[in-house]
């Protein structure tokens, strides 16, 4: 079995109005080469579910997002993603803002094929006021407690980025945190995994301990080899965050000429190889 594919083929499966999940967390191990391909495509009106980072800022800027389901959008070293802030303050997107734990619960519910999972997170706060579609549920047991029924966040397509993978769709993270990438995959109908490096299945044991092998091939439909694919987010131990690049990106939120220059230099390119070449030229 060989599930090898490309960013272009994966993104070609997207249709206007689809719900997509993007793995990683903030400005950490994001499948950015796929995000950049979405920017090149004509797809629009997406619902995006994510622990947001520059993926969200870039997709907002390109007008790709109709509705965003999120707990935060951050660049980590810059607490609030400035392009996301700009889009929000312009009222450009529908904001389904959740408690961070509710987002995990919604992904877990979808990955277990449950309609919802109960939680106390959200009770008493305005999360329920700004998400009127989220209902309460009463415990059927003696306690009778009323809880938030966090609905399953079912995804049409999920995109994640791993350090290593094989052509069959087994994946391995080598950094400190798996984030929620396995849940994104199980919550989605179609799943694409980009990896820093495709290796033989037998070689994955040499890359890291057994516990790093969180993605198995039932969870993945397509594997994309994308060295540097998480740039400019971090992807340890392969590389850290490109803070210099990120600062320059962030600064373009307040300077349209700088944004146009950034877009021309790094986004209006034919493909990911051209992007990596442009980044290398700095």
């Amino acid at each position: 079995m060989n599930k090898r594919t490309t960013e272009r083929e994966a993104v070609a499966e997207l249709r206007d109005g689809m719900t997509i999940g993007i793995g990683g967390w903030g400005s950490r191990r994001k499948p950015m080469s796929i995000v950049r391909e979405i920017l090149r495509s004509s797809v629009k009106d997406l619902t995006v579910v994510t622990y947001g980072g520059p993926d969200v800022g870039l997709l907002c800027n390109a007008g790709k997002i109709k509705r965003l389901v999120y707990g935060f959008v951050s660049l980590d070293s810059i607490p609030l993603e400035p392009h996301f802030r700009k889009a929000r303050q312009a009222g450009a997107i529908q904001a389904a803002e959740l408690d961070e734990g509710m987002l995990q619960w919604g992904l877990l519910a979808a990955s277990h094929r449950l309609p919802f999972l109960p939680t106390r997170a959200g009770l008493g706060s305005d999360v329920l006021a700004i998400n009127p579609d989220i209902k309460l549920v009463r415990s059927p047991y003696a306690d009778g407690e009323e809880l938030v029924a966090m609905p399953a966040l079912e995804l049409d397509v999920a995109f994640i980025h791993m350090n290593r993978g094989d052509v069959r769709g087994n994946g391995q993270y080598l950094g400190p945190d798996p984030y929620f990438d396995d849940m994104f995959c199980r919550a989605a109908k179609r799943r694409f995994m980009s990896v820093e490096k495709i290796v033989e299945t037998s070689a994955m044991a040499n890359e890291g301990p057994l516990q790093t092998r969180i993605i198995n091939r039932t969870m993945v439909d397509g594997v994309i080899e994308a060295p540097g694919g998480a740039h400019f987010t971090e992807c340890p131990p392969d590389y850290g965050r490109d803070e210099k690049f990120q600062s320059a990106y962030a600064a373009t939120a307040k300077d349209d000429a700088a944004w146009q220059e950034f877009k021309k230099t790094y986004l209006d390119l034919e493909n990911e190889a051209e992007y990596q070449k442009a980044v290398g030229k700095r």
Binding site: Y70, F72, E97
Partner: protein, 262 residues
């Protein structure tokens, strides 16, 4: 009262705030202490190094470390106690074993908190951090708040949107849902507040040295509970000042977050 000679003189306002934040963790024992903002981060480290040695602290990413780094960055290799990736954070905090100090952009008399946005949520005048973990934190475990610059537009009659749940809203939820709800302290650059009143309205607990009750009232939009003569927030000891200046905050970040009054 101590007037330390270390680092050249009396405690700065920022250092007073850090000690007030340390005091917020007194008696907490073996729980996870999480902090946002410099004064709370210095305070938790100070508590751990002195009267609350059993506190757990993270490296801000995904490990519990026994030697939390100075606020300016690591000075020595981390001594890792445990792995706490993001997916287990909610297990940990919904279990109740945590005291978080979150920054507040707005807070009201019952401890309803906002750091999500200013103005209508559909099109905010200012997008702030968003809900982040505040709804789940505040309903699940002990929560305190930090305000680096208290004004009437922070201590407000009504917050624009509720991210952290206050006492009046919690009271409507019933006992089972709020077993973990405990908004304990609000610490600002001017004073320390708690909710130890019959109806859980915010009470002025102590004013920082050099701050008058009038100054506090002038920077608060709602009516505070003020009982008799308000005590002064305690001064750091010589040993605490030494730890702050030499070990925890050697670059003086505290005094940038809270400028010392002229």
């Amino acid at each position: 009262m101590s007037q330390s000679g270390i680092g050249g003189g009396a405690a700065t306002r920022g250092e007073i705030c850090a000690v007030a934040a340390a005091e917020a963790f007194r008696g907490n024992g073996e729980i996870l202490a999480s902090c946002f903002g410099t004064a709370p981060a210095v305070g938790a480290r100070l508590a751990k190094l002195t009267f609350e040695p059993d506190l757990l602290m993270t490296d801000g990413v995904c490990t519990v470390v026994d030697n939390p780094a100075p606020v300016s960055g690591p000075a020595e290799p981390a001594v890792v106690e445990a792995w706490l990736p993001f997916r287990t954070i909610f297990d940990h905090l919904w279990n109740g074993n945590r005291h978080v100090v979150m920054a507040a952009s707005q807070i009201d008399r019952y401890g309803n908190h906002n750091f999500a946005c200013i103005g209508p949520h559909a099109k905010p005048k200012a997008q702030l951090l968003g809900m982040r973990g505040a709804p789940g934190n505040s309903i699940s475990h002990t929560t305190s708040y930090w305000v680096a610059a208290q004004t009437k537009s922070v201590f407000v009659d009504q917050v624009d949107i509720v991210s952290g749940v206050g006492y009046d809203r919690a009271a409507k939820l019933g006992k089972a849902s709020t077993r973990g709800h405990d908004v304990r302290f609000v610490i600002s650059n001017l004073a320390v507040y708690d909710f130890q009143t019959p109806d859980h309205r915010m009470r002025l607990k102590s004013v920082h040295p050099g701050v008058s009750v009038d100054e506090v009232v002038a920077n608060t939009s709602f009516e505070l509970v003020i009982e008799g003569k308000v005590p002064e927030t305690r001064q750091p000891t010589d040993e605490e000042l030494r730890l702050i200046r030499e070990k925890i905050d050697p670059k003086g970040f505290l005094n940038k977050e809270v400028p010392n009054p002229a």
